[in-house]
Symmetry: C2
Subunit: 330 residues, 2 copies
């Protein structure tokens, strides 16, 4: 999503080095004395793709710390970055079980390779390790935040399951789902990165709001890619949302503005699982474009919030990252 | 398992009252502002059965605290008791997904009622809430212990899955699985109950060893009930271990002592999933009785370890509970 090696700014190099250290922390945490467990962990480590969440922890830490030369990150930032990546990995592993997905970031999924049982248990192991690693910071406040955000994340997923196949879902409920299942963790990545940098409360608040807006835009883009993406580029099975009864923003917008005849027809296509026809309708009607504009507006609002932040280079990179969230093709 | 109302000792009444308060803490922690989430939580709260883990936290706390009149338990003990019960509930919900179970403690399982997706997510929600509740104790050391024990628990489950259908599994590996997946949490319940009562290190160590021996015996008894139990009394689907390729102690002992002809025949019955014939063979050969004796010995050893404990009434109740672990019919 963000090719750090291609960015000709010194802070990108710092970030790249720090991410290497985060990967080492993550790998060490997941080292078990049981070789079958290690085999499963090595497999899911291959999923690591965009690394959005650890990047946000580190960049938020850099952008809000007192020193400006890129040396402001501590072991606490890196541990936290590994923790949020591990939580994200756990959600991927369990999502793949729910979606019966076969491919994730171009790699065969664990559920496909070893069965649902191992995938459910390995997801639990990743959640558990995330909390264990977080507890090693010996900071009860961070543990409490993390427990809170994973509660919220699960609530979002459960609310989404509750509204499966529900074509009467309104935009407020869709936003509630996305705010909880995706934006809560991304917002907390930005806030906690700044917290560990000892930023002021007003800055923490801005970073959290930046992250949640970015998170909602990120999820909208994810939903759009499921409709318009290229499977080879995205690296996972596509067109699954519509096929599995997950109603996302383009469809909600379409139904809100369609006339009675159009709405009835699209409802029928959805009920019959005619995904290809449905996709084309959403693209040609402008509903996809409409949802894309919504994501763009969120990113503009998010970037405005970065005014509260001091670190120029890191702030610039956060803004670049925000743009990449909606321009990405995977 | 232990009918507190029937026990004519004052400490049983104290324990019963405390368990009511634990149930309130648990219910409050699981109160979401989203009604679909609450509906799912209310459903799994019906599973609560033996309450072995919270009882062990409370009794270990009572048996090792300074006062002897039953007034030594604090809010910290009760929170911890709710935390371990929540972890146990999460494992039940995920186990039922893995086992495709339809009945749990006489209640229809969540996976059967609402599908695997909701069950996987609700299990995650319970794990997350357990960590969140634990974090509210603001004691990093307890968080670290909890993360450690849930890591171990998942490793045990993963090791068990790795050895599914493995008739060459030896007794040492079986013990490793049971020690991790069951005894680790039960041992930690006893140790942490005493830790919160400010017990001395030697007492903590005895309580942990008491709990792990009790835990292994508990799992052996669980495995025996799967072979010999009465479905109506046990309250869950039985004969599943043999049918799903889970090799437990009676079968391991049988194969270790059988002659070549008998072993070949039993391996064939196992491969063909002829559970009824296999069950009878294990019962009639004495292998079941052999495993039962092993559990009895562990309980005797566990009770000896209670010598280090001061609270007479609570200690007596711990010993009664230890006996009930292997005499139980459900």
């Amino acid at each position: 999503m963000l090719n750090l090696a291609e960015l000709d700014i010194p802070i990108a190099g710092v970030l790249d080095e720090q991410l290497e250290e985060v990967a080492v922390i993550l790998e060490r945490q997941l080292a078990s004395d049981l070789s079958p467990v290690n085999g499963l962990c090595r497999h899911v480590e291959q999923y690591r793709g965009k690394r959005l969440r650890p990047i946000l922890v580190l960049l938020s830490g850099l952008a809000t710390c007192k020193v400006r030369d890129g040396s402001g990150l501590t072991e606490r930032h890196r541990v936290l970055a590994a923790v949020v990546e591990m939580i994200h990995m756990a959600t991927l592993v369990h999502d793949d079980v729910l979606d019966e997905a076969q491919i994730r970031r171009g790699v065969v999924t664990l559920n496909y390779l070893r069965g649902n049982e191992s995938a459910v248990m390995l997801g639990d192991y990743l959640i558990s390790n995330a909390f264990h690693l977080c507890s090693r910071l010996m900071d009860p406040q961070i543990n409490l935040c993390l427990g809170n955000v994973t509660n919220t994340l699960c609530e979002g997923e459960l609310l989404q399951l509750h509204h499966r196949d529900d074509l009467d879902i309104d935009e407020a409920t869709y936003r509630e789902i996305v705010a909880r299942k995706t934006a809560s963790l991304i917002g907390e990545c930005c806030r906690l990165g700044a917290l560990v940098s000892d930023a002021q409360p007003a800055v923490l608040d801005s970073m959290y709001r930046f992250g949640t807006k970015l998170g909602i835009a990120f999820q909208i883009q994810d939903d759009l890619l499921d409709i318009t993406g290229d499977e080879a580029v995205v690296g996972k099975s596509l067109h699954r949302d519509l096929g599995s009864g997950k109603v996302t923003l383009p469809l909600i917008r379409y139904l809100a503005s369609a006339d009675a005849r159009e709405a009835t027809e699209v409802r029928r296509l959805f009920a019959e699982g005619r995904v290809e026809k449905l996709r084309l309708r959403l693209i040609e009607s402008g509903a996809v474009q409409d949802a894309r504009r919504e994501a763009e507006q969120l990113i503009e609002q998010a970037k405005t919030l970065l005014g509260a932040v001091r670190g120029d280079a890191a702030r610039e990179l956060l803004a670049t990252l925000a743009d990449a969230v909606i321009s990405r093709r995977f």
